[in-house]
Symmetry: C2
Subunit: 196 residues, 2 copies
């Protein structure tokens, strides 16, 4: 009886032990994939925004002449902030993807890494979400104008520029959602390590 009592917990342990690593590496591979996607989305958003240039011949107000005018991202401080934030997010994405890969090979320090990931993910989310909001707010004025304060539409003239800006903001929104998911994944991975 004593012998069976001793072997029982061991057999349970040996059944549990192989079950844990695939589960952890499963989480880690999702984490790496999401961070790779974050990198791709951020770089796409930055490239699409930077290449948003369009020159149109527009009339000068008050004068009977027309001049070529170029629209580019650096015309708006909000778009400059957007590019800075998404560049940082892209760099963060690739660095943490590499760090996440290194964790799969060294699972001993995994929990401490997960804590750092969760804390930094939250900060990055704040930066990327605010940048997306700022660019979105300005782009919306460009699209619809604001009759109350006399700000005219821009997108009826600079159509391709606005398409680029709109696409870039949509991709940045996707990056924000990725950062929300990444933080939730890190939090949940930490939570799973608490013995029930």
């Amino acid at each position: 009886m004593a012998a069976t009592a001793k072997t029982d917990p061991e057999s349970i342990k040996s059944e549990e032990a192989p079950a844990a690593p695939p589960c952890r590496s499963n989480y880690s591979s999702v984490d790496v994939a999401l961070r790779g996607l974050l990198f791709a989305a951020s770089v796409t958003a930055v490239v699409v925004m930077v290449t948003a240039k369009q020159t149109e011949i527009v009339p000068v107000p008050g004068l009977p002449i027309k001049v070529p005018l170029e629209a580019k991202f650096s015309d708006s401080p909000a778009f400059v902030y957007f590019i800075s934030a998404l560049s940082v997010a892209g760099l963060y994405g690739i660095l943490t993807a590499l760090a996440s890969i290194s964790i799969i090979s060294k699972p001993a320090h995994a929990t401490r890494y997960l804590l750092h990931f969760a804390l930094w993910d939250v900060l990055m989310l704040g930066i990327v979400a605010s940048a997306t909001g700022a660019a979105g707010g300005v782009a919306y004025i460009g699209l619809k104008g604001n009759s109350h304060v006399g700000w005219g539409k821009v997108c009826n003239v600079y159509d391709k520029f606005c398409q680029h800006v709109g696409s870039s903001i949509a991709v940045a929104l996707f990056a924000s959602v990725l950062l929300v998911l990444l933080t939730m994944l890190s939090v949940f991975s930490i939570y799973r390590k608490i013995p029930k």
Copy 2:
């Protein structure tokens, strides 16, 4: 010998048991305080933005007359989104503050609550940060204008309106920082429960 061996672990346990609750309640009280602050900051931001009304007599472009024109938050969709987001954050702040107080009295379910707090905090942070960014982007155009697309300044005329909007955005930025701290606190509280 056997008697002392039996009493030793018990005495260690009884020493550990009273040490844990003050530490946990310490974290919980910080959590409650931060959530209370989040509620206060959100309500302040909403009230200051809603009360941002100013009527000025401005010239009509192209005509030699002047008419009274009122500036209010509903003139800009970004400010409407800002008010919606901050109202939700305020409601979230007071509800989770009450939930956090209820945890102090029932520490058994604390970990599960902390997980839910962390997950929802992240979502709220995304909403509040993007709303702050959107309102900030539009307010910056109101303050400085944008000569590239012919959007004129507004704040040289509607000075009090702009002071309200600026203060409201500053308080919302503080609320965003509170949400970052709250998420980090929840993550760290979960992390602390993992046996080292």
